[in-house]
């Protein structure tokens, strides 16, 4: 083999310059067109959810008496139509996006914090303490997610979104804890952890500086896949009347109102359902893309 091809020499140059595993992952991720497009769509959706209600001259609770249950029309200025109370669905759909996306992200944040801490401690401490901690997880696993959330929501009398996302997060951390524990157990055996312990670093610092950064890959993938799950749970709750309450609104609540008026006003369900589905699609594509990028085994 004489004379390497240009691409090979480029690869070698890159390797010589030192490319971190994260840069490798990013390169693989960029090649995944569905995932890249999905990121763009999510960014546009998030931005417009912030900007549209802020910039629109109509507020979500404004009632337009002359335009009750109007089909979408450009002439009237009601691009997504109005609901039975004459409220502009264009503003409402984007406003609902704010709430749904925020609850999805915040609930995932809560699950992330609980799951990572619980899993890392169970995996790092190990022994019977770790086992007891994971047995407790197994017990909670036998409780149905949606059931458990419904109980929490009704028990806490949650009528504001703060409680809703806390409840979702408080139930959805189990898988996260399992993933983190599994990763921690495998990292724990490594020489560099032994070295860190040998030089007398406290457990707290070993966890934060060496264990957590090394288990972060699968966690990122799971987080991206948990966000759409949580958005869906929020919309289930709102659909059942247990989640977001009027005058606030979310995609689930809009869909529930639209489902009730399906015969007279099919547009009422069409727009929030499309937005919700699009969001779920995109997060799933991003999650798949991240998994392929961070887990090069498949290549």
């Amino acid at each position: 083999m004489t004379g390497a091809s240009p691409t090979v020499s480029l690869e070698m140059a890159a390797r010589a310059a030192g490319r971190s595993p994260w840069q490798d992952a990013w390169r693989r991720f960029k090649r995944n067109r569905a995932a890249m497009v999905s990121i763009g769509v999510i960014v546009v959706l998030a931005l417009s959810s912030i900007l549209v209600p802020a910039l629109s001259s109509r507020a979500i609770e404004d009632v337009h008496w002359d335009y009750l249950t109007i089909a979408p029309s450009l002439a009237d200025g009601f691009w997504f139509g109005t609901d039975v109370n004459g409220r502009d669905l264009f503003v409402r759909t984007f406003y609902a996006g704010r709430i749904s996306l925020a609850i999805g992200v915040l609930a995932t944040g809560v699950a992330l914090i609980i799951g990572v801490i619980y899993g890392a401690v169970a995996g790092y401490v190990g022994g019977w303490v770790g086992n007891v901690m994971m047995r407790f997880c197994d017990v909670l696993y036998a409780l149905p997610t949606l059931f458990f959330i419904v109980i929490l929501v009704t028990v806490l009398g949650a009528k504001n979104i703060l409680f809703v996302f806390m409840c979702i997060g408080a139930v959805e951390w189990l898988t996260m804890a399992r993933i983190v524990r599994g990763q921690t157990l495998s990292v724990r055996q490594k020489e560099y952890i032994e070295a860190a312990r040998a030089i007398g670093l406290p457990t707290r610092i070993i966890l934060r500086r060496y264990i957590i950064p090394n288990v972060i890959g699968p966690v990122i993938v799971y987080v991206t896949l948990l966000i759409p799950v949580n958005i869906l749970i929020e919309s289930y709750l709102s659909f059942l009347g247990l989640g977001v309450q009027e005058p606030m609104t979310s995609w689930g609540l809009l869909i529930s109102q639209g489902a009730a008026e399906l015969e007279n006003a099919p547009w009422m369900i069409l727009f929030p359902a499309t937005f919700l589905t699009l969001t779920l699609f995109c997060f799933n594509f991003i999650g798949d893309g991240l998994r392929d990028a961070l887990d090069p085994k498949d290549y």
Binding site: Y141, A142, P144, F147, T154, L232, Y236, E263
Partner: protein
């Protein structure tokens, strides 16, 4: 094998006990009681006190828990607070068959169609047909049931007038088609994706190469050897999924007005009808544990390597 089953059942008992205690504590810790709505109204406070005494609500939590456990051992899940004169066992006995029939049909449909899709896509890996089937599956997963269900009802019920849009009709096929379809769509998506992934993973294994090189026809390689190994991840998905659908899809039962236990559960939670909520939660937890055991037993049949332990 028998000792393995016994061991697993022994672990299951404390697990269920812990779930009972945990959910009991969460529920009773809630501010407000089942008779709050009546309180402060026209009803004599004495009557409320009598009601509370009749349901043992005036006793300390530990006594209440003990009494509940005592009933549980004999299979008595207590009376319903909201539906006077009906026991939780009756409510479950009425609703569970509906939910189970609905859920198992949906899983059955999802399994057959999902696996066919998955095998089809795996055999045509990275072709247009593969992408088409997989996008369809992704759609099935991403579109929530409470969106598909109203649209199905609208199209087949109201516009085409082919099928009833609501009601159970004692489980008649006509009444089952729409709810089962709505429930099965996401299952088809998930099972198709799992099947495809597992088939592709297994197709690289040595025993598949051996099967091909000894000249077995492709159909036998796929259906007997590859699919059998690919069944393991499908089985592990099915365990919790079956428990999930059997205890009732809250949303589907709500939309199609079906008398299953999913609806009883939500109504119970809203009415503070704790015994109903507890009863259904315990039923679900027990189902999950039993189905997980069955799943693990099926693994042993499918994968000779696991049998050795």
């Amino acid at each position: 094998m028998l000792s393995y089953i016994l061991r697993r059942l022994l672990i299951a008992i404390p697990t269920i006990l812990l779930i009972v205690v945990l959910s009991f504590l969460i529920i009773t810790a809630a501010p407000g009681g089942p008779f709050d709505a009546q309180e402060g109204g026209d009803i004599d406070p004495e009557i409320i006190a009598n009601l509370r005494a009749a349901y043992n609500l005036d006793k300390p939590i530990s006594t209440q828990l003990f009494l509940y456990m005592k009933g549980l051992v004999t299979g008595d899940l207590g009376p319903s607070f909201a539906f006077r004169g009906r026991s939780v066992s009756e409510i479950i006995a009425n609703g569970f068959p509906v939910s189970a029939q609905l859920g198992l049909s949906a899983i059955g449909v999802g399994l057959v169609i999902g696996m066919l899709f998955g095998v089809f896509a795996a055999m045509r890996k990275n072709t247009a047909a593969d992408y088409a089937v997989m996008s369809l599956s992704m759609t099935g997963i991403a579109v929530p049931t409470f969106v598909t269900a109203p649209f199905l009802a609208l199209i087949f019920g109201l516009y085409l007038k082919l099928l009833p849009i609501a009601g159970w009709g004692d489980g008649a096929l006509r009444n089952m088609i729409l709810p089962v379809t709505a429930l099965a769509l996401p299952k088809i998506g998930v099972i198709a994706r799992i099947t495809r992934g597992a088939m592709l993973e297994v197709s690289r294994a040595n025993h598949i190469r051996t099967a091909r090189s000894k000249g077995l026809p492709e159909s036998i390689v796929i259906w007997r050897h590859t699919l059998r190994a690919a069944l393991i991840p499908i089985v592990s998905y099915l365990g919790p999924a079956i428990a999930g659908v059997m205890t009732g899809s809250v949303i589907i039962e709500q939309i199609f007005g079906l008398p299953g236990i999913g609806r009883s559960f939500v109504e119970g939670a809203l009415n503070r009808d704790y015994p109903v909520v507890m009863g259904i939660t315990i039923l679900y937890a027990t189902l999950i544990i039993v189905l997980n055991l069955i799943t693990d037993l099926i693994y042993r049949v499918l994968d000779p390597r696991i049998r050795k332990d």
